[in-house]
């Protein structure tokens, strides 16, 4: 048995194609990007090697630090707003309400729709002149609340986060739902017989048993948040006045608008390292618990 599962040749045959593809397409670009990040390079011709200067600039520029702060806020919002909503929905559905299958299917739909469409939708929702949100507020007599959601510094950051949070609620819900469903029914029965309320069962039985899947969701939403690009880029392009800028949008402008390939690459290295660090942290946290 063990000899079969330790068959070196088989392991190679199983793993090497994946690793080969992965190395050429993912690993090589990371290495190349890391190298670029040490250059003062405009994207053509020869770059000058400047050591860690790009990183020094990154950690001293208020604009870059603000972008990092925003992405951490976003990660926080994902963890403390999005995931709890997903968890609540997952627990409700897993408890066997009427229409369970229907809701489960419908809640996942935003994940399916291309970002191009989602971006169009939300820009129409937020539009200051004819947008859905302002129209709605006016029609219920709250016209004084109508505002330029994406155009003012006070609301733009929150407004640009909402669409991404909204889009992936169903995604995490489905993962958590699966986790909740896989818990043995006997455990519930035992808790019920003890006379525990639904809320109590959720907190003292279901959630603790869902820890593995919660960890997965945490890692996924953390990485997603730190890498967030599409919707922020389309909805605000980092504006107004950099209030909604995140490292990935700043990286994109740095590379493609100001031709600073080296500096832009430093952001991508930062994002990778940041994601890795948080993933390890989450793993540690769950292990010691």
């Amino acid at each position: 048995m063990n000899s079969v599962l330790s068959n070196k040749k088989a392991i190679c045959i199983f793993v090497i194609p994946t690793l080969a593809l992965f190395f050429i397409i993912v690993f090589v670009p990371i290495v190349v990007s890391s190298y670029y990040s040490l250059l003062d390079w405009n994207g053509v011709g020869r770059g000058a090697f400047i050591g860690l200067k790009n990183y020094v600039e990154m950690f001293t520029s208020t604009r870059a630090l603000n972008a990092m702060k925003n992405s951490l806020l976003f990660a926080g919002a994902s963890i403390f707003i999005q995931l709890p909503i997903s968890l609540l929905l997952a627990l409700i559905l897993a408890s066997g309400v009427k229409g369970e299958g229907f809701y489960r299917t419908v809640y996942f739909i935003p994940v399916l729709i291309s970002t191009v469409v989602i971006a169009q939708l939300w820009s129409k929702i937020y539009n200051a002149d004819y947008g859905l949100l302002n129209t709605l507020l006016k029609s219920v007599g709250l016209g004084y609340l109508a505002q330029d959601w994406l155009g003012q510094t006070s609301t733009a950051l929150a407004a640009s986060f909402v669409p991404t949070l909204w889009q992936y609620v169903g995604y995490h819900m489905l993962l958590m739902y699966a986790g909740a469903k896989s818990i043995s029914k006997d455990i519930y029965e035992a808790a019920r017989i003890d006379g525990a309320s639904s809320a109590r069962i959720a907190f003292s039985v279901t959630i603790p048993l869902m820890k593995p899947i919660l960890k997965v969701c945490l890692v996924f939403s953390m990485i997603g948040a730190l890498k967030v690009f599409d919707l922020v880029y389309v909805l605000t392009n980092g504006g107004p006045f950099f209030t909604t800028e995140v490292p990935s949008t700043l990286m994109y402008t740095t590379i493609f608008d100001t031709y600073r390939y080296g500096y832009g690459s430093a952001f991508s290295v930062f994002i990778i390292v940041e994601c890795l660090a948080f993933t390890l942290l989450i793993n540690k946290f769950f292990k010691t618990e």
């Binding site: 670009p29 169903g170 990485i223």
Partner: protein, 281 residues
């Protein structure tokens, strides 16, 4: 199992249903919005009726969108690229995940971590280096220039999902197979793979989503119209029909419908697999 709950009064149940329906509406609304949008003309879109039903159903928007040059060709390209990507990802990731999670070798944990790093790469930064790699492999302007990157970037998630699934399969399965005299390959392909069919469906749909909707690579690596994908075609419609928003909506619908159909076909499989596999982390 929830007999106690049923007893706990119907008011609560009604409120719960109202809440769930409210959430459902917020989740499904974009699709409905897109359908409405695709049947309107500009004046309606700009004159405040952004949300509601169109006053007249302008099906001609779809006619314009479908007559747009090579929609069929773009569609077939997308279908081909996506299909090959899915097959490749399923094949590679299932083998890799199996070897990593169930076979005994020293570097298995490290390999897993390495592959997971792939999820953390911001693709816009990888654009130029990847372009260089593909150029040096002489793959630019081929289907492979999309299939390989799509597959590579879909692998981490796939290995992750399948890996956690494999962990849940009892070891006795292999033991029995080995006792029957099966080698590792036979065991894998005839005993193990059939066990994870629904997990493969999950991986397939995630891979489908990421490659069908991808834009940046498709724009940058392909210049030849005959390899262009549907997303690019539809995106260039957004740039083309600046004054006819309804047509853009119709184009986006054309690109979205296959996704919805595939999802509805696979959704029970996907959900089943997630529940059965219950990703163990």
């Amino acid at each position: 199992m929830d007999t106690t709950k049923r007893a706990s009064g119907s008011v609560g149940k009604v409120l719960l249903q109202i809440f769930l329906i409210f959430v459902a509406v917020t989740q499904i609304y974009p699709l409905i919005w897109l359908v409405f949008f695709s049947l309107k003309d500009n004046s309606e879109i700009f004159s405040g009726n952004v949300a509601g039903l169109p006053s007249t159903f302008r099906w001609q928007n779809y006619a314009v969108a479908l007559n747009q040059g090579n929609v069929i060709k773009f569609f077939l390209n997308s279908a081909f690229v996506t299909t090959v990507t899915i097959v490749l990802v399923l094949f590679l990731s299932s083998m890799a995940a199996y070897a990593i999670t169930r076979m005994n070798w020293k570097l298995s944990k490290f390999t897993m971590t390495l592959i997971l790093v792939g999820m953390m790469v911001p693709i816009h930064a990888a654009l130029l280096p990847l372009f260089m790699v593909l150029k040096n492999l002489k793959l630019l302007n081929t289907y492979a220039s999309l299939i390989l990157p799509y597959s590579a970037f879909a692998l981490p998630m796939a290995v992750f999902i399948l890996g956690s699934f494999f962990k849940g399969i009892p070891l006795e399965l292999e033991e029995a197979a080995v006792i029957d005299g099966c080698g590792i390959y036979r065991t894998y392909f005839y005993i193990i793979v059939p066990q994870i069919r629904s997990a493969l469906a999950t991986v397939a749909i995630f891979t489908y989503l990421s490659s069908w909707n991808e834009l940046m690579f498709a724009v940058t690596f392909i210049n030849n119209q005959s390899y262009q994908t549907l997303t690019v075609g539809m995106m260039s419609m957004v740039g083309t029909y600046i004054t006819q928003w309804g047509v853009i909506g119709a184009g986006l619908m054309v690109a979205t419908i296959p996704t919805i159909i595939i999802y509805l076909l696979c959704s029970s499989q996907v959900q089943e697999s997630l529940i059965a596999g219950a990703v163990k982390g």
